[in-house]
Symmetry: C2
Subunit: 488 residues, 2 copies
């Protein structure tokens, strides 16, 4: 990347979101496409993997503090295991990659590369759970899964292999499993809102779009700047269907055998896609300090006669930040001018830039620039580490506020088929409408405009509000409030 | 596991090491065997995965402080990529699991489930490395790999899928690559010696046993209590073979194109196998505090009239240890007697036990018991967190000393074919012998007694010592000192 022209983003976020996104991913050094013969796969480069490590660290700590233990289950699942829960095999059948040979031998039974692990984890849970004293049982694994989707690849949003975590739990009662489902949903909400600066909506998937075999699928949905919704993570109350298919039973206090109530929940690297898509701009990547590989870049600006004092000052500030645990990079490359450096670090998404020239040295100050909006200010050199943490919070608040405003402006209501189609067609975003609960009424919208019901509210009160109305599509009695949106 | 008899280890470490090991793995709750149709796979339960997380944390911090970045490459490798480095394809061909179908479609080109990732990482490195300023380039991934070995499964030692890390680097010169190779070997040595309490020998694999295509394969070898050697981790200087096959070149300061010199290095969960095998005993698992899920178990011992004061005292001690960051478990189960608890926590490998009865409360002391040898002592209640850290170090030193003694006693010399065979047959362990360097001379030993040359010393001086002698097998001039041993 020695050519300056290669550096800049050429596509427009507003007018050409898809191409712009692909360009940011590539030029910010986040990912490459897979090799020939493996379209749909990506190579996750260190700058993106570092983001994933921060998501992992944040979420894993929450899991561990709420009784989750990590484990690791085999990558492959025998076909006969997948078939034991018929809804699961039907749900994933068209997307499974199959291992049929090992070495020079054909296998007796072909093995699925896991599309999700319920079918292999459940039989082991059945062995491990004996008595009510073994419950709740919670295991999680950080792994990759493979789903051979035919649709176009979008790094992190849609890839044939993706990184995720999948948690699997068993409980004594329906209510315990429901509490677990909601605990994980809240933790996912926190990943988006407290780590990635993205507000989300919580809801449930409609009946016909639940995880195969699930009692309820809950979701956090994030609105992207192009008006499409992203399913940010899902948490499933599986009821007793897996417990019955795989015999996960326990002996209760009265020595009676009971089926457990199970859950599963997962967050994938799609969270990185939402992160990149939400905050970045036509200069490149924008990141909050919570996940940025470098939180501050220090750019010294010197002439021959000021080089020594500027560099010395910049170095002492860099060291002070480092000593305080801040991830800071001093860009003292001699062969690049400050403008080039500004562009490069903007492209890479560093949230805060320090500019240090002879004036800053003389006045004992630092010029601080915020990545998202270019706001610039002078701050005192003293207590610089404390000051920069306040700047981080300001930048985070700006990112969150922009995303929140976008969300608030883009939830609209509609009460007829034409209104739903027209509103989504014109504005994108979410359209709330009373809905009878019938999949056919979603199909009518989907066929016309590729929007679907991404969620119904979890809050029963809101459902009741529309309970007395008529389905916006068919006119029958409404039972739910449907959120229609186009989605990734 | 409600039956007390199920708890205990029934096999003997000394007389029946293989069965004893399998029993410890199962009864200490570390792993289960894979499902039907998937022999050779294991399920890694939370207590074992927690050990792996500690190995990961230790090693990953060392990697990051020495310039390594994590990344993630696809799980699959197109067959044509594997074939680009002919030595690699020949090395792994009999062990590769092949994906041939996805959904209902047959793939145009079959995909290997990665047995190791050189072949897919190298082409990307070739894209990323342009100039000498891009070097060294270092990426690492934590992942699972699949090698369809036909030999008997031994959890963590030999499984068809295993967890590991694989690092891949490119350098400007042969010497830089050599320095990298040795840096990683030293870090692996540190995992064994400073984290797992296992002394290792450092060496190189003989020419005929190198990684396919490598210039040099270095290894750390650990001696197990049954006299067999475990290859603990390997670090490969790959020379320019991968750079040439995959065109990983850079422009040097004179604007000339040069081939890079690459390395790769990996440590797998075999380290957990070595850990379990080395320290554990006929009572079950033994772990150093560095990796133990629980470092201390507090067992209160009460009668009805002393219950309140004993529990209160035990709780206050537990809280104090927790506050100090020590992983401590208070076993206050009412339905179990102290003897049962002692056995259970010994089985699980907790390095230090606190016994607290009314006498301890009255005297303001704690009775401390070391897991490895049952040594018991009273220590003051005051400064208990500081005290227990000293006890951890004592336990660690005991474990290390025992393993070190075993190693020191089991490196023997031999100067004839009969002597090699007789010494290994009688004692196991390592036998050092002058060697001409010819694979045929190893084959003669291997055929007779299944021992092989696990390493030759890296230290050139030692090689010279045997340089003037005759090969112990064929009588030709010796060029190396071979370490013969049976191995896992
Ligand atoms: Zn309707
Ligand atoms: Zn010889």
């Amino acid at each position: 990347m020695s050519d300056e022209q290669e550096l800049g983003i050429t596509e427009s976020k507003q007018y050409n979101t898809g191409e712009w996104y692909a360009e940011v991913v590539q030029k910010a050094g986040l990912a490459n496409y897979g090799p020939e013969g493996m379209s749909g796969f990506i190579v996750t480069r260190p700058r993106a993997y570092a983001l994933w490590e921060r998501v992992q660290g944040f979420l894993d700590a929450k899991f561990k503090s709420t009784g989750v233990q990590n484990a690791y289950f085999p990558l492959f699942i025998p076909e006969s295991y997948l078939e034991r829960e018929k809804d699961v095999v039907e749900g994933f059948d068209p997307e499974v990659a199959w291992v049929t040979h090992a070495g020079h031998q054909e296998l007796e039974e072909r093995l699925a590369v896991r599309p999700t692990s319920e079918s292999i984890i459940a039989p082991y849970m059945a062995q491990w759970v004996r008595s009510h004293r073994d419950l709740p049982m919670r295991v999680n694994q950080w792994a990759s899964v493979v789903r051979w989707e035919a649709t176009e690849t979008k790094p992190f949003f849609r890839t044939k292999e993706f990184l995720w975590q999948e948690g699997h739990t068993a409980h004594a009662t329906h209510d315990d499993a429901w509490e677990e489902t909601m605990t994980r949903l809240e933790q996912y909400e926190s990943v988006y809102e407290d780590l990635l600066a993205i507000p989300v909506l919580r809801g449930a998937k409609p009946e016909h779009d639940k995880f195969p075999g699930a009692h309820t699928t809950t979701t956090v949905e994030a609105l992207m700047p192009d008006g499409k919704s992203v399913q940010g993570a899902t948490s499933h109350h599986l009821g007793t269907s897996f417990a019955e298919a795989f015999d996960i039973t326990y002996t209760d206090v009265d020595e009676e055998s009971q089926a457990t109530h199970t859950t599963s929940w997962g967050l994938s690297w799609r969270a990185l896609g939402a992160l990149i898509m939400t905050h970045s701009d036509d200069q490149g990547l924008v990141l909050p300090h919570t996940v940025a590989p470098e939180q501050v870049v220090v750019v010294p600006i010197w002439q021959a006669d000021t080089q020594e004092k500027v560099l010395e000052y910049a170095e002492s500030i860099t060291e002070e930040l480092e000593a305080d645990g801040i991830r800071v990079e001093l860009d003292d490359r001699d062969e690049r001018n400050p403008g080039f450096k500004f562009n490069e670090w903007e492209l890479k998404g560093v949230p805060v830039r320090f500019e240090i020239g002879p004036n800053e040295v003389d006045d004992d100050v630092v010029t601080v620039v915020h990545r998202p909006d270019g706001e610039s200010k002078e701050v005192p050199r003293e207590d610089i580490a404390e000051t920069v943490r306040a700047e981080f919070d300001e930048v985070y608040a700006k990112l969150y506020a922009t995303a929140e405003e976008n969300l608030a402006e883009n939830v609209r209501e509609a009460d007829s088929r034409a209104d739903i189609l027209g509103t989504i067609g014109q504005h994108g975003g979410y359209v709330k409408a009373p809905w009878c609960g019938d999949e056919d009424c979603e199909a009518e919208i989907k066929d016309q405009i590729a929007a679907e019901i991404v969620m119904v509210p979890l809050n029963d009160e809101e459902a009741e509000i529309h309970g007395g109305e008529e389905c916006a599509v068919c006119g029958d009695d409404a039972e739910e409030t449907a959120y229609f949106a186009k989605s990734y």
